[in-house]
Symmetry: C2
Subunit: 356 residues, 2 copies
DNA sequence: AGCTGCACTGAAAGCGTTTTCCCATTGCGC
DNA sequence: GCGCAATGGGAAAACGCTTTCAGTGCAGCT
């Protein structure tokens, strides 16, 4: 009954945890039986033994060793989530969606932050591959042209059965969510044109980002269709942050004071621009200048004036991303478009003087 | 040289990953040698063999199986982070700090969200214990009176060598970070008193939360010292969210229109209160009513008027929390106070008419 | 030449599980 | 009353790795 108690080497190890063996011993059953009771095995165990095992496990506060389990089953309940910066409301919204689905599926989420270092994405995929994560959600926007290292890592991950969903990436051999960036850009162009703006400034994020490109091109495309051309010097590139937006707005208005509308390619930058217009440039919004953002972060309706922006259902994107990765593997790679929607608030109005 | 190739049962498993065995075989060395090259062992291997192994590993895109590694070393490079809601700027700021330290220590972060369900904290600790996480940061504020289930889980975790830091918890047998909640509450009382406010409303979060209690009592304590008493009916309890704050502000002003200052126990609620005052109650801030928040989320300076609030260095709290958990185990349990600081902005001013 | 000591490699043990295989017992039909 | 399927329990294999232990070859010494 207790024939399996073995001596073990006295290597310096951390204080050891309760093992199934100990539970079995306390319950007076074999290891196999204990396992069958505690893991949901398809074999049955007598009521009697079952209770004994359960009681022993509870008394010892036993929890099964997940790595050991992972080893034998060669699968885990871990999913990875790779973002650029957790403290960015865009990503934390996506993360919330991912976590919700993870909770419902009893999965654990491994959160990796690249801190905007491009190379780290591939590295984290590798680490999650090492962890034998079931799935990975690449929430951070990709870089135009893709990254060979990342692609290779993803292939290796897929080869071992890992599933991946990428959000706003291009040419990756995985399920991809395409947020309505282009379409949102178009809507903004339409809105500003309709209000009568012709002198429009654009504050871009890093042009290497897929989502920046999409938003920008959507806008330019539609603007062109409506006969508005945005001069090269009315476009500035900035960090995708509040401070980036603020500095960019100042630069832009110093250079081209005649601008009557400002399209910031995300809300964070729009917030910065709002601050710049108010505190640094002394322009009032929307009377002097209209401002549009992108993302519709919760803040957007708390600033004054409330920000006109493009709503991206970020939590839903997170949810869909994980669900996609958890879903049917054979259909992969799929592409899922998530629409965006213009939300007009108080930060946009007709330009101060009639155009022309 | 390749004597260890074994037959394996044809159980249906996911497409299998590259193993060290395969690398060894390709490199023409033994498993042991390959391991010595790829794990940073203290044994050395000839230059020649080393290169062969490295090359084979690279070619096969080998990454070592973390669960297997964890099993034999009985430790992992995983740390847990338990929050109530990732999409809450308070927690994402703490998370950012934790992730920063994790990155520097090459640790992976497992993020668990309780979605405000109290019981889930203990459950997640158990799951992280099962994962053999090295450390856990309990970022979500605790409940007054503590939770026996949580305490027991933490003890079990500690018993197997796990380290824990709790933020704003009480009576837990682990390292604890005590944010300057009480002290911040006192500072707010002082500030409002100095401006001449005597009719002060308080929007509390769930009173069961330790941080709510601390903030509230700090405030009341100092207010009392200064001869101001906050009537019971000037205090309302609300969800710790923007919407909670908004609804509470409306309730409060309907009931007690004479209030000249409002202390919301966190910024999210203060934002809601601001919205309520502006949109629902038609009061101007700070001319009619002063508003104070707590946390100093990034939003605080983007709203109009910019919010007077108590700054809590959240990222630093996150950093310190993980560092504490990673640090000297023998000194545990320790307590680390992190000071807060009142940040006066534009949302507070003297009350509309002189008191008395 | 024969040994000692050194430097390295390889075989094998073991980490804590799940699962397979085998055995013992029971219930059933004939 | 006997064989046979069905049931449930235990021993042991296997998962992929690290590490110990036991070689093996070779230089350096006596």
């Amino acid at each position: 009954m207790q024939s399996q108690v073995k001596r073990r080497s006295a290597r310096p190890r951390p204080p050891s945890a309760v093992t199934l063996q100990q539970v079995a011993q306390v319950a007076g059953v074999s290891l196999a039986t204990a396992s069958r009771v505690l893991s949901d095995s398809n074999r049955n165990v007598t009521q009697e033994l079952q209770e004994r095992v359960l009681e022993a496990a509870a008394r010892l506060r036993y929890v099964s060793n997940a790595p050991a389990r992972a080893l034998v089953q060669s699968t885990t309940s871990i999913v990875g989530l790779i973002v650029h910066d957790v403290n960015d409301a865009y990503y934390s919204a996506i993360a919330a969606g991912v976590m919700e689905v993870a909770r419902d599926h009893k999965l654990l989420v491994m959160l990796a932050g690249t801190f905007h270092e491009p190379g780290l994405q591939a590295e984290y995929v590798a680490r999650l591959r090492a962890q034998r994560a079931r799935a990975v959600v690449l929430a951070g926007s990709g870089f135009t042209g893709g990254s060979p290292a990342l692609t290779q890592e993803l292939e290796a991950f897929a080869a071992q059965g890992g599933r991946v969903t990428a959000v706003a990436h291009q040419d990756l051999p995985v399920d991809t969510i395409v947020p309505g960036n282009r379409e949102g850009g178009r809507a903004v162009a339409e809105h500003l044109a309709q209000l009568g703006h012709t002198e429009i400034g654009i504050i871009c994020g890093p042009l290497a980002l897929v989502s920046v490109q999409d938003r920008l091109h959507g806008f330019l495309e539609r603007a062109a269709e409506l006969g508005i051309s945005v001069q090269e010097r009315h476009r500035v590139e900035a960090d995708f942050t509040r401070d980036g937006g603020r500095a960019a707005a100042v630069r832009l208005f110093r250079r081209s004071p005649g601008i009557t509308a400002l399209f910031a390619l995300n809300d964070a930058m729009a917030l910065g621009a709002l601050a710049a217009l108010r505190d640094d440039l002394g322009r009032s919004v929307p009377a002097d200048v209209s401002v549009v953002g992108f993302d519709d972060l919760p803040v957007a309706c708390d600033v004054t004036p409330a920000l006109t922006t493009v709503r991206l259902p970020l939590e839903e994107i997170g949810r869909r991303a994980l669900l996609l990765a958890l879903g049917d593997a054979t259909a992969s790679p799929r592409t899922l478009a998530v629409p965006s929607r213009l939300v007009v608030r108080a930060s946009t109005a007709p330009p101060p003087r009639p155009t022309g």
